[in-house]
């Protein structure tokens, strides 16, 4: 009943959705690692990025590469604004204050977008040079699919190298582990946090473009569930672990697509439910996630 080519096709779709979750999870896990903040507003960045791309690329007709860099810059700038306006004043306060603020900012951005664009979804055409269709015996795909997979892997690799090899990256991991001691080392902790927001948000805005190019439609509320699922990916992969967040993204994307592909059609509506069922399952078996660092109990 299900052919190999069907399986491969759906796996590719799962990997692509996984790329999107993984890219978002990257930004979320870094911020969570340092501030213990579940940054719901992170999801809003993919909405903003998608609409920003829509306007600079389709409406203004800027060259593709220029538009991409503008989206990255715009996302990064928004991340910085969020950090400075929303979160910086709350440092040292209770974590729940940060959480509520991030929900508030998400809601604000979503409604603001709705007001400015429209409550109706926008059609987002795949740029022409990404729309070429390829048929092979087992797999049918478009250039955009290849683009998404390669650009995502490239970003993840670059981020990994940044965190592992650069001075700022090492400082970021140190800050995530122990903010007070990082401060003692002469690390300007606030600057490190801002960099985490800027990088994560730039990546999220870029992801918004990927989303539009792949699924052909963007809307003011596209960021909410996507953002929440990206956080689920963070938890599934293991909070505090960057490779874990990426892995979690892929696990979630694949599970979501494959479950609708292979379960009877009447279950298709439950795709979001399935994601959360996976979360519960993983937490039952491995409470600290697949690659999670077990919190040591200190006496």
């Amino acid at each position: 009943m299900f052919s190999l080519s069907y399986f491969l096709q759906q796996s590719m779709n799962g990997i692509i959705l996984g790329c999107i979750y993984a890219l978002l999870a990257l930004g979320m896990t870094v911020v969570y690692g340092i501030l213990r903040l579940i940054n719901f507003a992170h999801g809003a960045l993919i909405t903003l990025g998608a609409f920003f791309m829509y306007f600079v690329f389709f409406r203004l007709g800027l060259p593709f590469v220029a538009a991409l860099f503008l989206v990255l810059g715009f996302g990064g700038a928004m991340g910085l604004v969020l950090d400075l306006v929303a979160y910086r004043k709350l440092r040292g306060g209770p974590e729940v204050a940060l959480l509520i603020t991030s929900l508030g900012f998400y809601t604000f951005i979503e409604n603001f977008t709705k007001l400015i664009v429209s409550p109706q979804p926008y059609a987002f055409k795949t740029p022409e040079f990404l729309a070429t269709l390829y048929r092979t015996p087992y797999l049918t795909f478009r250039t955009v699919d290849v683009f998404i997979i390669f650009s995502s892997l490239l970003i993840m690799l670059a981020f990994h190298l940044f965190v592992k090899r650069t001075k700022l990256g090492i400082a970021m991991r140190a800050t995530a582990e122990n903010l007070e001691v990082a401060n003692l080392m002469g690390i300007e902790v606030n600057r490190v946090i801002s960099v985490a927001f800027v990088l994560g948000s730039a990546i999220a805005a870029f992801t918004g473009f990927l989303w539009g190019a792949k699924y052909g439609q963007i809307s003011y509320d596209m960021g909410f569930l996507t953002g929440v699922k990206a956080f689920v990916a963070v938890v599934v992969g293991g909070v505090g672990s960057i490779p874990g967040a990426m892995l979690g993204g892929f696990v979630l994307g694949l599970a979501e697509i494959l479950s609708i592909a292979f379960l009877p059609t009447r279950f298709a509506e439950y795709r979001d439910g399935i994601v959360f069922a996976i979360l519960i399952l993983v937490l039952l078996i491995r409470p600290s996630g697949i690659m999670g660092i077990r919190e040591e109990v200190r006496v």
Partner: protein, 237 residues
């Protein structure tokens, strides 16, 4: 000559409760000064305030004649103050080498940093062996060495050591104190906080004893040692 560190009547509070009150002392260049006292006497608070992690509600702190009372911690690191925190404060998930390099975070002289790294490795060959190991896997003694090595990487002029011997085996503590002497011989001034007094008194040039946030006794090791009170409470005799 002005002293390297001058703490002038500082009061630090946690909420409304003062942890130290009008505390006053000085540290001369090239000295090892020991700050002793029981739990809750305000020793750690004092070091954190000198480092800029805590702010005094009253009083002033002068470093090398400069008022640093309101300077944030990272800038004090740049001026040459390093705190080796209580409990060592090692980044467990980072490698030994990464930990050490973070000590030199504010420095730009790449060559000097690598030289100092080699110097630290000469001082602690064990760390060299474990260079690429995650620091969380080190033993307590090795972690303390790493914490001190990391402090040295910032090329400090004033090193604040918060209970370095805590939780270490007696043999390791002896090694540690030999090391503290060596660091001083290299021209680094040391302010040492300890609960276990004998070793600290043995190495110090000057001793302050704190009690509930105020200096109770001050003097040279010989003067302090001979006091009945100190003998009874801190030297176990």
């Amino acid at each position: 000559m002005i002293s390297l560190l001058k703490v002038e009547k500082i009061t630090v509070k946690y909420g409304v409760i003062p942890a130290i009150q009008e505390l006053e002392f000085e540290v001369e260049r090239g000295q090892i000064v020991a700050l002793l006292g029981a739990n809750g006497a305000g020793k750690t608070t004092t070091l954190k305030t000198i480092m800029g992690v805590l702010r005094p509600v009253r009083g002033r702190i002068f470093y090398d004649g400069k008022d640093i009372t309101f300077l944030p911690a990272p800038q004090r690191v740049r001026l040459g103050i390093a705190l080796v925190p209580e409990g060592r404060g090692i980044f467990n998930r980072l490698t030994v080498r990464e930990n050490l390099l973070l000590g030199a975070y504010h420095r730009r002289d790449q060559e000097g940093i690598l030289q100092d790294l080699e110097e630290v490795y000469r001082l602690f060959p064990r760390l060299k062996e474990r260079e690429n190991q995650v620091a969380g896997t080190l033993s307590g003694g090795e972690q303390q060495m790493l914490a001190i090595g990391r402090g040295l990487m910032s090329r400090p002029r004033l090193m604040l050591l918060d209970e370095p011997s805590l939780g270490l085996a007696p043999l390791v503590v002896r090694e540690l104190y030999a090391l503290i002497r060596r660091i001083r011989e290299n021209g680094v001034t040391i302010l040492l906080v300890e609960q276990s007094a004998p070793m600290a008194i043995g190495v110090a040039d000057y001793v302050y004893v704190l009690e509930t946030g105020v200096v109770k006794i001050a003097g040279t090791p010989q003067e302090v040692e001979s006091l009945e009170e100190v003998k009874k409470v801190y030297l176990g005799g």
